[in-house]
């Protein structure tokens, strides 16, 4: 039977099969992309839905009297207490009064203190101020605490719900934009916890990391690729650099602990050391990417420059480096993105501490965004859940912004040449 088929018929019979295989292969590819996209969308949506709540914060409008004695005692919370009691004169029992004050955040007094600092003439005055409510009230407002569940199973009692509802009815309790989250440092109270401290810690660390790893990495790559003789020593160096890229990041943390902290006595928990450790981790990535970028520059450009009588340094600086720069920047972006998301090495050098103050310099104690996420995810309060997700959003936005800047820079370099 098959013997009767001509040559061309046999090819034709095979063709449909080949086309089917090709179609199938393409479908696999599309399916893989679809699955990946679905996971990405699900992840982003989950984070977004969970985190979006943290950008709002329940606040209560209170009529406060800037009482002179309390100001002298520096007892700002007492002012909050008094105004709450004035608002609910019917509350008399001691335990109820305590419950009532617990509606407000323990940080509400700080708001008043800041107002007074900005304007000392407030003494004796009466003002209506929006003050931060406690995290339990906040959670109730955002629906994280179920009103329908039995009282014993929720953190807000029926009494408190009645007070809250009366405040809402008065228009004195609202969800407002949570500026404190973006300007404050960490806190044990979720409603007072902000991301700015960790954000600054990350910025300082990354700045140190970039300033160390980019010039070192690029110079290493240029020397190895353009100047170094190819011998056993450079082979050894190359193998070691490739191995370093595969070393788990926590090992770099241990190295930082042993060398930077214990031997050089650099300050603990400082972004300076954090950046140095991250630079160690990022260096191999940058070196490998930069070498690949240099290797991708056509040799004809080098020959043209040498043929014109350019020295090796001139050849590299005038011709090779500008052409390799976009590739080097890509490698640096990947390295910096890794560094931004890295927490393990920072744990080892003490950047995992609970730090309330916003770091103002490279040697101030600080933490970093991924470490902050880890810390908050570990906290028991319900309100920290949304803050964790919100911190992840901030981290992702930071990452995307960084990449965008790098892409713009790269485009600019490419256009110049």
């Amino acid at each position: 039977m098959s013997d009767t088929l001509t040559h061309s018929e046999r090819i034709e019979a095979g063709l449909t099969k080949r086309y089917r295989a090709e179609k199938r292969f393409r479908l696999y590819g599309i399916a893989a992309i679809a699955v990946a996209m679905a996971f990405l969308v699900i992840m982003l949506a989950a984070i977004g839905i969970r985190g979006i709540g943290a950008f709002q914060q329940t606040e209560v409008a209170l009529t406060v009297v800037f009482d002179e004695t309390h100001i002298k005692d520096n007892n700002w919370q007492a002012i909050v207490k008094e105004s709450m009691r004035k608002k609910f004169p019917e509350v008399t029992s001691r335990s109820d009064k305590r419950l009532l004050t617990q509606l407000m955040s323990s940080g509400a007094g700080f708001n008043l203190q800041n107002m007074y600092r900005a304007d000392p003439s407030l003494v004796g005055e009466t003002r209506t101020v929006w003050l931060t409510a406690s995290d339990d009230v906040d959670m109730l407002m955002k629906g994280a605490i179920d009103r329908a569940s039995p009282q014993s199973e929720r953190r807000v009692s029926d009494k408190e719900i009645v007070w809250i509802d009366s405040l809402i009815a008065d228009g004195a309790l609202e969800l407002k934009f949570n500026t404190h989250f973006f300007t404050g440092g960490d806190s044990r109270e979720p409603e007072l916890a902000g991301i700015f401290g960790a954000f600054m810690g990350s910025i300082f660390s990354l700045a140190v990391c970039f300033l160390l790893s980019f010039p070192l990495g690029v110079m290493t790559a240029i020397y190895l690729e353009e100047f170094a003789p190819k011998n056993r020593w450079t082979d050894v160096i190359e193998v070691n650099i490739n191995n370093l890229a595969a070393v788990p990041s926590i090992v770099f943390g241990l190295l930082g602990l042993a060398v930077f902290l214990n031997f050089f006595m650099l300050p603990r928990s400082a972004p300076l050391v954090g950046g140095m450790v991250l630079a160690l981790m990022t260096l191999p990535t940058i070196i490998i990417a930069s070498r690949a970028a240099l290797r991708a520059v056509p040799p004809s450009i080098r020959e043209a420059a040498w043929g014109m009588g350019a020295s090796s340094v001139q050849t590299v600086l005038h011709h090779v480096l500008p052409l390799a720069m976009p590739g080097m920047l890509t490698g640096t972006i990947i390295g910096m993105a890794q560094a931004l998301g890295e927490s393990a090495p920072l744990l080892m050098i003490g950047m995992v501490a609970f730090i309330v103050d916003i770091p103002g310099s490279f040697t101030d104690p600080a933490t970093a965004l991924p470490v902050q996420i880890f810390l908050w995810a570990d906290s028991p309060e319900r309100a920290f859940t949304e803050r964790t997700a919100a911190a992840i959003i901030v981290l992702l936005v930071f990452l995307v912004t960084m990449n965008l800047i790098a892409v713009v820079l790269r485009k600019k370099f490419e256009r110049r040449w």
Binding site: P229, I301, G307, M308, G309, W417
Partner: protein
């Protein structure tokens, strides 16, 4: 007796030739051996290259003609494991001697490559690059002057006059090659090396380059490697035939093509090998 007279005559001829040119040989190579690692690429090459002429280096692929060309401006220095023995003199000075500055040498011996390789910069900057790194232009006007004359000499000026800021890589292949020639002559070299300058070009662009080479020999000593025997016959005055790393025969182009002495040369120029 016969023999003695013969040598006498050839010696006289050489003196006469030099007398006629009233210039000594621009480049002289003596006993040149080149090794890439353990492999010998050139074996005992002796070649004299006269001034203001086009010398063509011909031979089958892998015969060492490009290697020899690249020895003349020490482009082989950057090749790992490449070793050059013997003596190559430019105006009587050994360019492989200790203390010879490669940068200076390459400013005197320019090079045009097989594949047009303009820098990814503007046409102006391409030509200005050499004078700029060697500090040849004192002012902006000087530089403009150099760039314009170089482009003019390379026969490219009329085609690019109104787009000097356009990238050099945007030109056609033939224009790119002429841009590379303009770039090479912008530093006023004494010798221009051309490594198969037309192999990537179509016949029309090739004709233009050949015409240009013919004009350039007024001012420069040109040494070119070519695979095309017609091209060698058209543009060169002297021809050297390389085979398997050896210089087989050298002489006036017409002699090489019409009455080659060596059997291998005869076979190559008549198209039987190569």
């Amino acid at each position: 007796m016969e023999l003695a007279i013969h040598t006498d005559v050839s010696a006289n001829a050489r003196v006469n030739a030099q007398g006629l040119n009233s210039k000594p040989h621009k480049v002289t190579a003596e006993g040149v051996n080149v090794f890439y690692g353990n492999k010998q690429a050139l074996n005992q090459v002796n070649l004299d290259i006269p001034s203001n002429m086009v010398t063509a280096l011909i031979g089958p692929s892998g015969c060492g003609k490009s290697t020899f060309l690249r020895c003349l401006n020490r482009m082989n220095d950057v090749v790992d494991g490449c070793r050059v023995e013997g003596e190559i003199c430019l105006d009587g000075e050994n360019i492989y001697a200790r203390g010879v500055d490669v940068v200076h040498l390459r400013a005197r011996v320019g090079m045009v490559f097989q594949k047009p390789n303009p820098f990814p910069k503007s046409i102006y900057d391409n030509v200005a690059y050499g004078p700029r790194i060697h500090g040849l232009a004192k002012s902006r006007t000087d530089m403009d002057e150099i760039v314009m004359t170089s482009l003019e000499k390379a026969g490219l000026l009329d085609e690019v006059r109104d787009r000097l800021d356009a990238p050099g890589t945007g030109l056609s292949g033939g224009q790119q090659q002429r841009l590379c020639i303009a770039r090479a002559i912008a530093v006023e070299p004494e010798v221009i090396l051309m490594d198969e300058p037309c192999s990537a070009l179509d016949p029309i662009a090739t004709a233009k380059i050949e015409e240009l080479i013919d004009e350039l020999k007024e001012n420069y000593t040109i040494i070119m490697v070519t695979h095309s025997m017609q091209q060698a016959a058209r543009v060169s005055q002297k021809t050297a035939f390389f085979h398997l790393g050896e210089l087989v025969e050298q002489g006036d182009t017409t002699d090489i093509f019409t009455k080659p002495v060596d059997e291998r040369t005869k076979a190559y120029v008549t198209g039987r090998i190569g």
